[in-house]
């Protein structure tokens, strides 16, 4: 009993579904779709992709319909034992299906080369914003050399319109292993390698928040090395820069009058996914000011523990480079490169046990008491 060959009807239905899906992807608001470009590199790559997809679709339809036809037309009929005529080759046919693919390749290559050179070798305009991106296991360091600003995990860029272009030219390197910077709507990815500086640029054309993540396996928490890019209006961007430039000492003066902080652990409803059960909201205040859960005591604990070995807070003695700069921690919407929302509850849980959020991340649990964790949290909450 011979079976029917693969029929063409499921194939047609499937192709239609594929095209419909592609169209959906292109217009959907899915945040990391490569079919929703918002910068020049991304749009150039997107247009090229349509060109390539069209050629591929034509080739596929052509070849597969010939295949289907051959399978149907030349299937063996029952009760026919004779052999068909033996054909060993044909020079003309073989030449044609050598020449035509060569021509298709030439067209494809030229189309690719045009975009490749125009994006990769684009000259840098004087109005460009310089950003240095340094990859770490498992977080992102961002430096703005023109402004003397160091930030982490959340990148702010000014919008770049045709009337006021302000592309961001980025230099990328790594402090440890190979990473890759990928925010699909703002362009293709570029790898970050230690001992090597790569370059890429983007000119985001619409304000908003764009997301992405590390795209080169870099260790246990590769999956949680997320990226956020805030594209601001020029005014908002300048405001953010100014905020980042404020030294912590200025902030400290503003806080000098504060004696205590509201309860750090209980006000936030958002619970981290793997919250250890141990950190119930600590008692509000004890009578002893040196034991109070407030920012001043928190700063003392922070500076006495090993925190300062890894973290920097401008204006204090903390200037470690191994972990993210915390000077403006509260200006960020997420913690731990996107692993959790930046809320007081999450912050305290994170300090108590980072591996509850990111098992395998390089920040150790310091095994401090709940009170100390609350104090540190209170201090960090002032780092706006």
């Amino acid at each position: 009993m011979r079976s029917r060959p693969k029929s063409s009807s499921p194939l047609c239905r499937f192709s239609a579904a594929v095209f419909a899906f592609c169209a959906t992807c292109a217009h959907a608001s899915l945040p990391t779709s490569i079919f929703a470009p918002h910068s020049t590199p991304a749009s150039e790559e997107n247009k090229l992709s349509y060109f390539v997809l069209a050629i591929s679709a034509l080739i596929f339809l052509g070849v597969s319909s010939l295949l289907v036809y051959a399978l149907l037309r030349y299937r063996a009929r029952p009760n026919d034992d004779t052999e068909p005529p033996q054909v060993f080759g044909s020079l003309q046919i073989e030449l044609s299906w050598t020449i035509i693919p060569i021509l298709i390749i030439v067209v494809l290559f030229l189309g690719t080369a045009r975009v490749l050179f125009s994006v990769q070798d684009a000259p840098k305009p004087p109005s460009a914003l310089d950003v240095v991106v340094i990859g770490h296991q498992f977080w992102w360091e961002f430096r703005y050399p023109q402004y003397n600003v160091v930030a982490a995990n959340e990148l702010h860029l000014p919008v770049s319109t045709r009337s006021a272009p302000r592309p961001a030219y980025m230099k990328l390197t790594s402090a440890d292993v190979v990473h890759s910077f990928w925010v699909p709507q703002l362009g293709g990815k570029t790898d970050l390698l230690p001992n090597r500086v790569n370059e890429m640029w983007t000119d985001p054309q619409q304000t908003g928040m764009y997301v992405g993540q590390c795209a080169q396996f870099c260790g246990p928490q590769h999956a949680k090395m997320l990226l956020r890019v805030y594209v601001d209006t020029p005014e908002d961007f300048q405001k953010w820069i100014s905020g980042q430039q404020r030294m912590q000492a200025e902030l400290g003066q503003a806080r000098a009058s504060l004696v205590s902080q509201p309860d750090a652990g209980s006000s936030n409803p958002a619970v981290p996914p793997h919250a250890p059960a141990t950190h119930a909201a600590p008692a509000a205040q004890s009578g002893d000011a040196s034991d109070a859960i407030d920012a001043r005591n928190g700063q003392l604990v922070f500076e006495q523990q090993a925190c300062i070995n890894c973290h920097t807070i401008n204006g204090t003695i903390a200037n470690g480079r191994y972990g993210p700069d915390l000077t403006h921690l509260m200006s960020r919407a997420t913690l731990a490169a996107g692993a959790a929302e930046n809320t007081p509850g999450n912050l305290q849980a994170w300090i108590a046990d980072p591996s509850a959020f990111k098992p395998g991340c390089l920040m150790p649990a310091m095994h401090l008491s709940d009170r100390q964790n609350a104090q540190i949290t209170a201090y960090l909450l002032t780092l706006k």
Partner: protein, 567 residues
Amino acid sequence: MDGQSMPAAQGIEGALDRTPAHSARGTYLEVVHSWIVTVDHKKLGILYIAYALVFLLVAGVEAMLIRIQLIRPHNDFVSPFTFNRLFTMHGTTMVFLVGMPILFGFGNYLVPLMIGARDMAFPRLNAFSFWIAAFGGLLLYYSFIGGVGLAGTGSAPDVAWFAYAPLTEKAFSPGHTVDYWAVALLASGIGSIGTAINILATVFCMRCKGMTLLRIPLLPWLYATTSFLVLVAVSPLTACQAMLLIDRYLGGHFFDTQAGGSAILWAHFFWIFGHPEVYVLVLPAFAFANEIIPVFSRKAIFGYPAMVAASVGIGFISLGVWAHHMFTIGLTSFGNAFFTLSTMLVSIPTGIKTFNWLATLWGGKIRFETPMLFSVAFLFQWVIAGLTGIMLSVSAWNWQLHNSYFVVAHFHYVLVGAIVFMIFAALYYWYPKMTGRMLDERLGKWHFWLMVIGFHMTFDFMHFPGLLGMPRQIYTYEPDRGWNTLNFIVSIGGFIQAIAILIFVYNLVHSYFRGEEAGPDPWDAWTLEWATSSPPPSYNFATDPQVASRRPLWDLKHPEDPDSAFE
């Protein structure tokens, strides 16, 4: 089999060897011993294939665990450490412990038979190659229990199958995971190089009388090309692993970026191995297609000389495309352009082969037994895989697609959709020769259709998360990116494929005992292996064959219309 499919075979029994393949079998221990000490290419071939099938199941389980973890976002079925081990081991196992061995197994079995030789050129080297490759595989899996890793959970490699430096340096991987990876693959690599040397010496030096190089079947041609690629490509991997071990244990600085070392050098060296490696895996699949499609179309392969030239051409061009795995690593635009062009060029000879297969079908009388079903699916899937490969070769678009699930979908389309499907076709086609029994056709069709449905469900849909920005090698993903339903469908397809494969394993075992007797030539084919009994005697041919064309059995069966009149 219905008798009407093989009328021509009946007239030539007198010319075929009907000697029973084995005499008194001896005790159980003697049988096992004979398999352990064998240098017979047929037994070694079967050992390779059995070894590979065992690891296929193991790596398949690893894949299922991966898909269960990814079936929904923020899943906690396995820890990140376990997940990283799973995908590393799944990839490493499938390439080195399934793909290479099963293809060498078929090569071992078929090449001497097809060229009318008594055995491979160096039977003892053959045995040594198998056992050292097997040792490598066992060493790799011993890592699961062999010692304390970074998080105290065993030392199976967890650095991805391409083990980028400097993640693999002692500073970032202080446990032993990388060491197991490097040493186990070093051992397997020695086995591969030994087999490659053997195949080349056999094909060039042991052909029977009259079998010029342009008369050997296409399978030995493709295996010779594959072997050449193994020589030139596996050696760089051996060099890489030696450098890595020097760094890890002798204080070397090859990839120590603090001392001026370079991460990009590892990438270059690895992919100089890695790209030809995938051609090492796919060329044997082409070899099977070259043998099976003509027989089931009842026509000679269309354009034999072009097929030879295209196959050898693919081998050579594949040595010059490796940096298409590195378009995002920061090469110059000229470098990116060069590798774009070289990669696109490889599609020319590949296209020639595909069109030649189409032309072989054209005008034939196609029969759809299970080997042909898998070959037909291979043809469609190969075209799609090749097209997504072209998409990936467009370097400017590759900057979006690289390291996303689009790449994972593409290479699984090649590895599963083309290679595994052709391996299944080859097993259905040559199992009768190896065991003397036919595999069950009904079970074969169940296997086929479930594989097709499961394969497409998983790997067609897998392209879309990539297009929507999902990177690979992540143990979980964010729920607001639009990847959830797609991952769910992908995982379900995996289960369907698992069922298909279980049916196949049952078929393999059941048919060994209860399958229909095959006879020497159940498919009415034309190459020399079908001129022996099933299974063949240990000496293959009682007297050396002599041939005058590419299809000696066609000449025998059709004395009025022999190929030798046309060649």
